[in-house]
Structures are given as structure tokens and as C-alpha cells.
Amino acid sequence: MDFAAFLDQAWASRNLILAGLGRTILISAIAIFFGTILGVAIGVLLTYGNIVVRFVIRIYTDFLRGTPVFVLILACFYILSVAGVDLTPFQAGTFALALFCSSHVGEIVRGALKAIPVGQTEAARSIGLTFPQIFRYVLMPQAMRQILPTWVNTATEIVKASTLLSIIGVVELLLTIQQIISRTYMTLEFYFLAGILYFIVDFAIERAGRYFERRVAIPD
């Protein structure tokens, strides 16, 4: 392995690599953001909804969690276009990841809310708080401590799952790297570089998660 030649090629391709990395981060950020918002709503409905709502949402989460992300991405790209919704590969792929993310976050939130003793809600209600207030001041602060570590897990999964978007032609980091490899024949070197870049992104998410965990922790 000629390290100098690799650095040469990597430097020559820096703009392409950065563009690919940027797209991976953008896809992941959008999917995680909307997936989390939708997921919190799902978690609340799964915990406090009436039986009909719970049943419908349960089917939604079980279907999404039981389907490979890969199939979900293909479905959003091909099935939706047949149904008349013509999304670009970027939109379809990000949409699929957001749906996938929402089902996981929904389960995480449900679990965290269920773990809070029911007596707390009763106590809050007895001092006259409305449900939005109970959720905001009593349940969520406690649930956050449960949610954050597993949420970090889901977020890093989404970053990794974004590599699958290359199959529908989204030029994210992995496809960018494959394009460079096809020109330079430096397979192992560039895959190694891709590995490092993905690690950096996921590590940053992990550190951010830790930071917020400390913020919501019970002070010593």
C-alpha cells in the first residue's frame, strides 16, 4: 500500500468526499429530527391513547420495526412513485429513514413513560395539573433519563442505515467513496477512510448524547 499515493488521491477528491459526508449528515439530521418528533408523539399515543388509537399505532410501529430498512427505502422510492407521489431519491430515502426512526423512538418513549410509577401522575393530577402540564413538568424530565442512552443508539443506527440510500442512487458518503475507488483502484484505503468518517459522525452523536444525559441527570 502506497500511503503517499493514497493521500494524494484523497486530497484530490476532498471536495467530493466532503460533499458526500455533508449529504450523509444532512440525510441523517433530517431523518433523526423528524423521526424523533414523530416518535415522541407515537410514544405518548401508545401509552395514553384509547384502545383504537393504540391498536392503529401498534400496527404502524410493528410493521415498520419488522421491515428491513432496505425494503422500506425501496418501498418509499418505487411504490410511492407508482401511487403518484414522485419523490426524488433523496426525499424518498430520507422519508424512509425518518419513518424507521419514528417507530424506534416511539417504542423508546413508550418504555420510558411506562417506567414512571403511576402514582406520580395521580399526585400531579390531584394538585390540579392538566395533562400537558403533567407531561411537561412531571413525566418528560424523568423519561428523558431513560430515553437519551437508547435514543443515541437509534440515531447512530440511522447514520449507518443512510448508506443504504446508495441503492436508489443518492450519492452519500459511501457511494462517493465507491466512485473514487472505481477511478483509483484503492479499495481498502478508501473504505478505511469511510469507516473513520462514519465513526467520527457517530462518535459526535454519542458525545452529544452524553452531554445531554449529564444535563438531565439528578444532581448529586
Binding site: 418501498a75 407508482v82 446508495s166 441503492i167 450519492v171 466512485q179 472505481s182 477511478r183 483502484y185 479499495t187
Partner: protein, 278 residues
């Protein structure tokens, strides 16, 4: 996910899509009205479709698509390329995401039931790459050496049988990636590298004088572009473009592209009686 499963799920989607896909207006007219050609192709296989150092899509498949655009609009650049993986070639055609796929697509009877192939624009095969100053002069020398020859090849279930079809006694060393396969040849761990003729030809143009072709090709397969089934007029049009590129008015464009990507000068078709009927 295993590749088979990928392909199966894609095929399933394609089938669903096909059931819905209503026949709209004539494709040729649709493309002309739109003013640009939408071409499905990849971006990770030199010299067929890949990115040059500036990030432009180039290669022999790309040049074929440009010939079609030139025929349509008198402008080879009037193309929108849709980046697709090899697995997406057929689904993207049947769901009308692309007008045509030019992505080193091997013609098989099975595929010909799902899409319609144009006439072939290249005949692919497996070849053997040797060092120019190596021990063996050509294919005959390799064959005569029998079991004393080591051939490097890209890892594949059929790799061993593929090499043995040409060199029955050779030792076959399989490598994980293309660069390692060539590295084995460079370092002398292998006497020859066996891979697609087009890849060999392209690799040789990259470092002239360093390598040579052993002069034997086997495992033939035809590469064609493909269009959605039932678009006969559109198919006829593309066929005419390719036919005239290989034998008629656009021969010089085709030959220049052939020279650029495969390093081979083509003889112009003989004037007089059309060569294809001989």
C-alpha cells in the same frame, strides 16, 4: 442483506410497478417534447460509467447515451443522468424513472422478458493480463506451462471454474478487491490476472507499456442498453442510432470513444456491401 434477497425484493417491486404502469403516449415523442434524455446508469465502474477527477460522469456507457441524445436533439449534452445501482436497472425502467438504461447490461434471455434490449454495442469477455516484461509471452505460453502458472482473480463463486475454462491446470488465487488482484500481478505473486476484457483494456491505457494482453478471450457476453417493454418505436430509434454508430455516419464518434476507453483503433467499416450481411 444477501444479494439474492436484494434482487428478489427489487424484482417484486418491479412486478408491482409493472401491473400499475399504464401505457402513456409514445416514448420517442415524450422524450422529444421534454427536450432532454433521462438515462439510468451507474457511477462506480471504469471504464463504463465513473467519475473523473473533476467529478464528471464519463465512460463508454456515457458516450453511448450521448450518441442517443445527439440523435434526438443534435446536442450530446441534453441528458439527465439518474444514478442507479446495478440492481435498480430493471425497476427504474419499468417504473418510468428513466427513458433508457445504459449500464453495461449483459443480455440474457431472462432479462429480455422484463425489458427490451437494444442491439449490442460491445462484446464483453474474460481476458488475461500479463506484465509486459514477464516470464510468459502470451496465452499459448501460459497454457504450455500448465500447473506452473498462478492466476489472480477477483473473488467469486465461479472464479475457479472461469479460469480453468481457459487454463485447466493453473493455480487460482482469489482476491478481495480489484486493486489487490492487480497488485498480485505487479508483485509477481501471480503470473496473470484474469478479469473482464474491458477492465484490462482500460487498465492498460492507464499505464501504457507496463502490461500486455495475453490475446485470448472467453466467456462472451453482449452489452446492450435497455428500454421499457412495449416501446417499439423508441426501441427502433435507439437501435438505429447504435447501428449507425457502429457502421454508419457516427462511426467516428463511436471509434473515438472506443479508442479512449479501450485503447483500440477500430478499422472503419468497409465501403460498399453492408458488412453486417456478410
Amino acid at each position: 442483506m444477501p444479494n439474492k434477497l436484494k434482487i428478489a425484493s427489487l424484482a417484486a417491486f418491479a412486478a408491482c410497478a409493472m401491473a400499475y404502469g399504464a401505457q402513456a403516449q409514445d416514448k420517442l415523442q415524450e422524450v422529444l417534447d421534454r427536450g432532454k434524455l433521462i438515462v439510468g446508469t451507474g457511477s462506480t465502474n471504469a471504464p463504463w460509467h465513473f467519475q473523473d477527477a473533476e467529478g464528471n460522469l464519463v465512460g463508454f456507457d456515457i458516450d453511448m447515451a450521448k450518441l442517443v441524445a445527439k440523435g434526438l436533439f443534435d446536442d450530446p449534452e441534453a441528458i439527465e443522468f439518474v444514478n442507479q445501482s446495478g440492481d435498480a436497472r430493471i425497476p427504474n425502467l419499468v417504473t418510468d424513472k428513466v427513458d433508457i438504461t445504459c449500464q453495461f447490461m449483459t443480455v440474457t434471455a431472462g432479462r429480455a422478458q422484463q425489458v427490451e434490449f437494444t442491439i449490442p454495442y460491445y462484446r464483453e469477455g474474460v481476458g488475461l493480463l500479463l506484465m509486459a516484461d514477464g516470464e510468459f509471452a502470451d496465452y499459448d505460453a501460459l497454457k504450455a506451462a500448465g500447473g506452473d502458472v498462478t492466476v489472480s482473480v477477483l473473488q467469486n463463486v465461479y472464479a475457479e471454474d472461469m479460469v480453468h475454462a481457459a487454463l485447466p491446470e493453473a493455480t487460482v488465487d482469489q482476491y478481495e478487491s480489484v486493486d489487490l488482484m492487480y497488485q498480485a500481478l505487479n508483485s509477481g505473486r501471480a503470473d496473470a490476472a484474469a478479469t473482464d476484457q474491458s477492465s484490462l483494456a482500460w487498465f492498460m491505457t492507464q499505464s501504457p507499456g507496463r502490461y500486455k494482453d495475453a490475446g485470448y478471450g472467453w466467456n462472451p457476453q453482449s452489452y446492450s442498453c435497455a428500454v421499457k417493454p412495449g416501446e417499439q418505436r423508441w426501441l427502433n430509434f435507439v437501435n438505429s442510432v447504435f447501428h449507425e454508430a457502429m457502421t454508419g455516419v457516427e462511426f467516428n464518434t463511436y471509434a473515438a470513444s472506443f479508442k479512449q476507453w479501450f485503447g483500440v483503433d477500430l478499422d472503419p467499416p468497409q465501403i460498399g456491401f453492408p458488412i453486417e450481411y456478410r
